[in-house]
Symmetry: C2
Subunit: 585 residues, 2 copies
């Protein structure tokens, strides 16, 4: 099954759901023509170069041979084409060789890359995180040495956080960095789950590593961020000796087999401190936040891929009689249950895409808007939406991939069909870069009161504006559903704010349900904005389809939000009372 880049849908989401037009002042070069050209070219690259490698990437995977990782078939060459095509540098600063375009455009481009080949897409995604961290926290020398190579894509980057005993709980990590007596550091320890930790697609790999320094305080305050290249770089930038680090093994994973997930062994590896001592965690979060949005985008991407495959299958597979026309045999697309499933999949994908692109627009505005008030408000919006973009979209990815497999019937369970790969690949996204449970804790524990509640208040106000526009026009039913959902969100929010000060377990017990609820509301808002804007589209059938997506989502998803508020406000008592014994078999 091939992948068709959804350029038209992406452009529509950018314009209407994400209000890309708000970036016009900050990024005058990102005009409509440029955006269209970038999306077209990236879509062609994703569909023609990356998508065909996806199945072999799954079957063969990355392999460890004599201590060195060999990329999956075709991946190294495709990566070189990716770098040479300039796709690694879209949104990087011009002073480091980048093209200075909005991050939002980068997110849109990476959605297509991830959809075409999620295992491949992780490589540039991790590099972007390293670029972000060095841009913000690196010394001038570090920037000069590493950024141009990362931006050009000649080198790639990694994030070394997790250790066997320290997954979500980074305070527990034990990898140590000791001064080498020469102004530098030496890192010793073991890291696991290091994505693209080694490979043969680039000349060097820039490892960003969290480690503990001698005499540092316990917990997260004792953690600093270090840079340890795979191959040492001398003063004039030439590659020298191999650093004292190596791959200890590759994980056998459920999916994304084309992405080498490495155990990394640091054996006194030469390293440089990035940012201040003890600042490891906040500095790493610079990468993490951008990466969380990218992972959310992976959710949208794998959903789009699985959806396209299911839609194509529904045209080809002939079974039974059409409920509408009575024709028999008919393509299964003509069975209302299959059609409904496809429409719901599509609605969720466009909602997730809108959320991710809106988060990206907020990120762009927060750093590049001309006026400070806009930057400040945008920063709040970015931070508020990031856990939703990550968690809601990746849950959508799993759900859509599962529905896509289901539409294939028995063929979906056969690996050769390809639907099963999406179901397996999609499953990692709710886990990495902070599990979706961690996102929910972030949302309730921190984001709820961001800007003393202004972040959430602004969001609610914006949604309320759309409700008014809907109710005033011929999308009144959608408007009423969105309004009721918004009211429920408001009520649940108030309850959580009250409980989090009095009894945090109550708030935390509702965190995941709240994240889902808020995601549903924001997702419905995204579709509603598209539906309102569709009136301006020349293609009447296509415009009507955008309105239909909003209606179907409103009746199927938003209608359940008021009831879902009860699951948020459930309290912790029944959970606290449960023991392993009463819960056991």
């Amino acid at each position: 099954m091939t992948y068709r880049a959804p350029v038209r849908d992406l452009a529509f989401s950018l314009r209407h759901a994400a209000d890309f037009g708000r970036l016009a002042d900050a990024f005058p070069e990102a005009d409509a023509d440029t955006v269209a050209a970038v999306l077209e070219a990236a879509g062609a690259f994703a569909a023609d170069v990356l998508a065909p490698l996806n199945r072999q990437g799954d079957l063969v995977g990355a392999r460890l041979e004599n201590g060195v990782v060999r990329s999956a078939p075709g991946f190294a060459d495709a990566y070189k084409q990716f770098a040479q095509g300039g796709w690694a540098s879209l949104a990087a600063p011009v002073e480091h060789g980048g093209q200075g375009l909005p991050k939002t455009l980068e997110v849109a481009v990476l959605e297509m890359v991830q959809a075409a080949n999620m295992a491949f897409g992780l490589c540039p995604m991790l590099s972007l995180g390293a670029i972000e961290a060095l841009e913000h926290h690196g010394s001038d020398n570090q920037k000069a040495t590493y950024l141009p190579k990362l931006v050009s894509g000649e080198w790639t980057g990694t994030m070394n956080l997790t250790e066997p005993q320290a997954g979500s709980d980074l305070a527990a990590l034990t990898t140590v960095a000791t001064p080498d007596g020469d102004g530098g550091w030496k890192i010793t320890g073991q890291k696991i789950f290091i994505t693209w930790g080694d490979h043969d697609a680039a000349d060097n790999i820039v490892h960003l590593v969290l480690a503990r320094t001698p005499d540092a305080p316990p917990g997260v305050k004792g953690i600093s961020l270090f840079l340890a290249p795979k191959v040492l770089v001398d003063a004039d930038g030439a590659l020298g000796e191999h650093n004292a680090l190596r791959v200890g093994g590759l994980e056998h994973k459920l999916g994304i087999h084309g992405s080498p997930t490495c155990v990394m062994l640091f054996e006194g590896a030469k390293a440089e401190l990035v940012g201040g001592l003890g600042q490891g965690l906040p500095n790493m979060f610079t990468m993490m936040n951008a990466a969380r949005l990218q992972v959310g985008t992976q959710g949208t991407a794998i959903a789009e891929r699985a959806y396209q495959q299911a839609l194509a299958f529904s045209q080809e597979r002939v079974q039974g009689r059409s409920a509408w026309t009575g024709a028999s045999p008919t393509r299964i697309f003509d069975h209302p249950d299959v059609r409904r499933t496809l429409v719901l999949m599509k609605a969720h994908i466009e909602a997730a895409r809108g959320i991710c692109l809106s988060t990206a627009v907020a990120a762009d505005l927060s750093r590049a808007a001309p006026d400070e008030a806009t930057r400040t408000a945008a920063k709040l919006r970015e931070e508020l939406l990031t856990p939703i973009a990550k968690a809601w979209s990746t849950d959508v990815g799993v759900w859509v991939a599962s529905q896509g497999l289901q539409i294939h019937g028995g063929m979906g369970f056969i690996e050769e069909t390809g639907a099963a790969q999406h179901y397996r690949d999609a499953r990692i996204a709710p886990i990495y870069e902070g599990t979706n449970g961690i996102q929910a804790i972030d949302l309730v524990g921190r984001k709820l009161m961001l800007g003393e509640g202004q972040a959430l208040g602004d969001l609610m106000d914006d949604i309320r504006d759309t409700v008014e526009a809907l109710v005033a026009g011929d999308l009144k039913a959608v408007g009423l559903r969105l309004e009721a959902a918004l009211d429920a969100a408001t009520q649940a929010t108030a309850w959580l704010i009250e409980r989090r000060t009095k009894a945090m377990p109550d708030a935390l017990s509702g965190a995941t349900a709240y994240q889902k609820l808020l995601g549903d509301v924001v997702g419905g808002w995204m579709l509603a904005k598209g539906a309102l804007a569709a009136a301006g589209e020349a293609d009447a059938a296509w415009a009507e389809s955008k309105r239909a997506l909003a209606r179907v989502f409103a009746e199927s998803v938003l209608a359940q939000v008021p009831g879902a508020a009860a699951g948020v406000m459930i309290g912790a008592a029944d959970f606290e009372a449960m023991t392993p014994e009463t819960l056991g078999a």
Copy 2:
């Protein structure tokens, strides 16, 4: 990870959710002591013999070697132990060597078998279907020849329905049976997705095959049911020559690798007609309905297995600080979000178990209750609940397996951990024995008006009785949630009944949403019945946990049912208007 048979929970569900006591007159030998002894012994067999083979079954799988299927390591020996232990004959008629116990007990036993090793459990499950078909439709001679061997487990059975062009649409099948001029038949054709179609665990395999006869009318009326043994059986029951049928290949599947899924080639295979000419489809449905309940039970089973693994992991994995006690580091069980997930998983499992066991009790009453009125009402209940048992429970299986993987964090994505296998294995159950979409069509198209609506009316009345008991006591909040959900179900039902006569696509567009809604209501009812009965339990903490499960399900699931009714009553217009083009990329 080991499996612990949930004997206590099963016994509780049998007693209270499923009203096993109603079988006392029809099955006086199935008293409490017998039930307890059977559950204990079966649980021990499942945990000690079957569960340890599950991982190797996944890793090595069944293999085709020189045209013969070799079972996964240990499976053939375990199957012989299964048969020798009498587990194949629990509910078979005494006159054919069975033990004549209730089917309900068989369902409870098979839940443990499927949980311990789902790929293994498919083998006896398919045999049960063959027994059922022969018992109802076989000639005396066929019964005498085949039933004792199937009941003893010496031979196994299969169901040969699907062909490449005929999955859900059996009218399209083309395998032919022609008279052999000697009173018998010869079958020629290709069947796919034949579970345990060949193996080395038993001396013979009894294939039940749907085929078309010469001059038969087109469509389903031209289909008859045939029996073609792997090895021919002579007049005195001795095994003779190999029949003209063979395995064409094994499918490469997402999961259940230990279950050989065969392409079967019938090359003029000798066969006997089972039941009347042209009666193939109704006769096959005899097997199908029992198998659908068994597949629903697989959903419960794989959910229980995945849940147990996640619960164990939540005790072992230490991360972060307890929200309740402040202890750090703490097991992740002490994080409210993890605890909530586990409790929701458990609630769904017990709801699904209750639905499946209730369906089984209805099936037993429908054939064995002393009075006809009970048998008639029970038959309606069995038929009404079967699609819900199949679809709702298997969706629960997938959801719980996914949540179980999630609780493992990054480790869940690593195959060695085992959580991923459950996620892969679980995914087949919503597909086979009629996809869950087909179940929904059955529910709305046929079951809704069963007995002129009496089936559904009786069910609603029974639930209403429980509502009254809840509201009158200290589970009033649960009662009110169940009542509101029931009212919504009533409303959605009335709408569907009205639409199915006027515009079937409207009804079919809401079918899956309705199936989910009704499953939620019946599931909540099951938990509520348990909660009411828990007062009689000696273990106060355990009794309270059953009440807590009902409360959590009510607030988290039942509370959303009124809103979900909108998704049922959505109508077909927005779906009908969608085209591949407007839905495309």
